[in-house]
C-alpha cells in the first residue's frame, strides 16, 4: 500500500483527478477551488502590482535616458502647444457652458446618459493563446457588483468597445475581451438603419488582433472600411458603442456573408478602461457591503 501511495503515476493520477473535479465544480457558484484561488489572489495581487510598477518605472527610466535629447526638443514644442491649448481651453469652456444651456433647453439626451462610468486600470492580460481573460483593478469593493446572469460593458478611453465584465471579486474584476473565443455582441453598420451583424471572437483571427463578423441579411453589402457599432439588441451593450472597422469580406457563401473586423481598441496596449453600469443595475447594489464612497464614478451622464 505504501508503495502504491508513493508511486509517481499514482500521485499524478490522484492529483489530476482532484483538479479535474475542481475545475468542473468551478462552473458552479461558490466553488471551493474558486475560494482558494480568490484567497490566493489577495496575496498574489500586491506582488504582481509591485512587479508591474517596478517594470514600468524601469521602462520609464530607460526611456528617459534614451530619449533625453528628443524629450528636450519635445518639451520646447509642448510648451508652445500648452500656451496655445490654454487659449483654446478657455474658448471651449465657454462653448461647454453654451452646450449645457442648449442641452437643458432642448432636452438633448446623451448617448450613454443612463450609465455610470467607472474607471479602472488593467492589472493582467492573457497568459497564453487560450481563453484567458483580462483582470482590472475594480471590483465589489469599488462598487462593481455583478449578479447572476449580469454583465457590464467595458470601453476604452475613446469609448470604443473592449469587452464585458463577467466576474467580480473583492478588488478586481474579470473582463472578457472582444477577441476572446467566447465573446459575442450584436452590432450594426454605423449608418441610419444599418444592417445587423454579429461580432464574435475567433481562435484564428485573435492572433492577428481581429474578430469575426457574421451578417444576417442576405443582400447585405459589407465593404472594407465599414464601421461597425453596437446595435443595442440583446440589452447588454447600449446602442452606438464603436467596435471596429471591416478589414475583409467573404462572399463565397451567399447565405452567410462573413467578414473580419479590426477593433478600434488596441487591447494589447490598453492601460485604462471604463466599466459602464446602467443606473437600474447600479441601484441593485444599494445595501451591498463594500459599495463605498470610493466607488464614485469618474464620469457619468445626467439621467
Amino acid at each position: 500500500m505504501k508503495k502504491l501511495l508513493t508511486a509517481k503515476w499514482f500521485i499524478v493520477l490522484s492529483v489530476s483527478l482532484l483538479l479535474i473535479a475542481g475545475i468542473v465544480l468551478s462552473f458552479l457558484p461558490g466553488s471551493p477551488l474558486k475560494g482558494v484561488v480568490g484567497l490566493s489572489s489577495n496575496a498574489v495581487s500586491p506582488a504582481q502590482k509591485g512587479v508591474k510598477a517596478t517594470g514600468n518605472a524601469f521602462s520609464d527610466f530607460w526611456a528617459a535616458i534614451a530619449d533625453g535629447i528628443a524629450i528636450r526638443e519635445e518639451n520646447k514644442t509642448l510648451k508652445e502647444e500648452i500656451a496655445d491649448l490654454k487659449y483654446r481651453l478657455n474658448q471651449y469652456e465657454e462653448a461647454a457652458i453654451r452646450y449645457e444651456e442648449l442641452k437643458n433647453a432642448f432636452h438633448i439626451r446623451d448617448t450613454f446618459s443612463n450609465y455610470d462610468i467607472y474607471g479602472a486600470s488593467i492589472l493582467s492580460r492573457e497568459a497564453d493563446e487560450w481563453f484567458s481573460v483580462i483582470r482590472i483593478n475594480a471590483g465589489k469593493n469599488e462598487g462593481i457588483v455583478l449578479e447572476q446572469g449580469q454583465s457590464y460593458p467595458v470601453v476604452d478611453t475613446e469609448m470604443n468597445l473592449v469587452g464585458r465584465v463577467i466576474e467580480t471579486q473583492g478588488s478586481n474584476s474579470m473582463v472578457l475581451p472582444l477577441l476572446h473565443e467566447g465573446f459575442s455582441a450584436s452590432g450594426k453598420v454605423n449608418e441610419v438603419n444599418g444592417a445587423s451583424v454579429i461580432v464574435s471572437g475567433d481562435a484564428v483571427l485573435k492572433k492577428s488582433g481581429l474578430c469575426r463578423v457574421k451578417a444576417f441579411d442576405k443582400g447585405i453589402k459589407l465593404e472594407p472600411g465599414t464601421v461597425i457599432v453596437t446595435s443595442g439588441e440583446g440589452g447588454l451593450f447600449p446602442d452606438g458603442i464603436p467596435i471596429g472597422t471591416i478589414v475583409s469580406v467573404d462572399y463565397s457563401n451567399p447565405t452567410e456573408v462573413t467578414a473580419t473586423l479590426r477593433p478600434f481598441s488596441n487591447i494589447g496596449e490598453l492601460e485604462d478602461v471604463f466599466v459602464m453600469i446602467p443606473f437600474n443595475a447600479d441601484d441593485k447594489k444599494e445595501g451591498v457591503p463594500g459599495a463605498s464612497e470610493s466607488s464614485a464614478p469618474v464620469a457619468g451622464g445626467q439621467g
Binding site: 475542481g22 489572489s41 504582481q48 484567458s132 464574435s200 481562435a203
Partner: protein, 208 residues
C-alpha cells in the same frame, strides 16, 4: 535536507514564481511574437522538474498554477451556453508539466543543460497538442461553444512550433538562473551530482 537549504529553496521558488508569473501577465506583448507569448512560468516549472525532480516539479507546478489561475484565469463556455471563469486549469497544466519534465530527471540526463532544452521542447509540444485537442473536444461536447476551425498550418506552425521556439528562447536565461541563482546552489549541485538521484523501481527522486 537541512533547514537552511530548505528555507533557501522555498524563498527562491517563491520569488521566481511571483516574479515570472507577474511578468507573464503584465507585459505579454513584449514577450510575444506573431500572436504567441513565451510562457515564462511554464518554462520555469518544466526546468524545476528537470533539474530538481518530481516533488519539486509537482509542488512548484501546483503553486505556479494557483498564481496563474489568480492572475490570468481561463474563461470558457459552459454547459449552459454562457461564459464562465474557471479555476484549476492553470493548476492542472502546471502540475502535469512539472511531473512530466521530472521524467527527464534521471542519472542518464545528469542535469545536462542541452537536455533541458529537449525537456522544454517536449513539454511545450505535449501542452500545445493536448490543449488543441481539448479545445476541439470541448466544442464537440458543448455545441454552443462554437467551432474550433484551426487549420494544420495554424496549429502546427503558428501555435505549436512558434510557442516551442519562444519557450526555448525564454529557457536560455531561465536555465542560467536555475544553474547559478536557483533554489539549489551551484556548489550543492556539483557536490551532490548524480549521487542524489536515487533510482528505484519506477521513479527518480531528488535526495538533498
Amino acid at each position: 535536507m537541512d533547514r537552511r537549504r530548505l528555507i533557501r529553496k522555498i524563498i527562491v521558488y517563491a520569488v521566481y514564481i511571483l516574479l515570472l508569473s507577474s511578468l507573464q501577465v503584465s507585459y505579454p506583448s513584449r514577450l510575444g511574437f506573431l500572436g504567441q507569448t513565451a510562457d515564462l512560468a511554464f518554462v520555469f516549472v518544466v526546468l524545476t522538474g528537470y533539474f530538481n525532480g518530481f516533488i519539486d516539479g509537482a509542488v512548484v507546478g501546483l503553486i505556479t498554477g494557483i498564481v496563474r489561475d489568480c492572475l490570468a484565469p481561463i474563461a470558457i463556455i459552459g454547459f449552459d451556453g454562457t461564459v464562465h471563469v474557471t479555476a484549476g486549469i492553470g493548476m492542472l497544466v502546471m502540475f502535469l508539466a512539472g511531473a512530466l519534465s521530472s521524467s527527464f530527471f534521471t542519472k542518464r540526463m545528469h542535469r545536462n543543460v542541452p537536455f533541458a532544452f529537449v525537456s522544454i521542447a517536449f513539454c511545450t509540444l505535449v501542452y500545445k497538442i493536448g490543449g488543441h485537442f481539448l479545445a476541439y473536444s470541448w466544442t464537440i461536447i458543448i455545441p454552443s461553444a462554437g467551432s474550433y476551425q484551426l487549420g494544420f498550418y495554424e496549429i502546427v506552425v503558428r501555435s505549436c512550433l512558434l510557442q516551442t521556439l519562444l519557450n526555448l528562447i525564454a529557457g536560455i536565461p531561465l536555465i542560467l538562473l536555475m544553474r547559478f541563482a536557483g533554489p539549489v546552489s551551484l556548489s550543492e549541485q556539483r557536490k551532490t551530482s548524480d549521487d542524489v538521484i536515487m533510482t528505484n523501481e519506477d521513479t527518480s527522486w531528488l535526495q538533498i
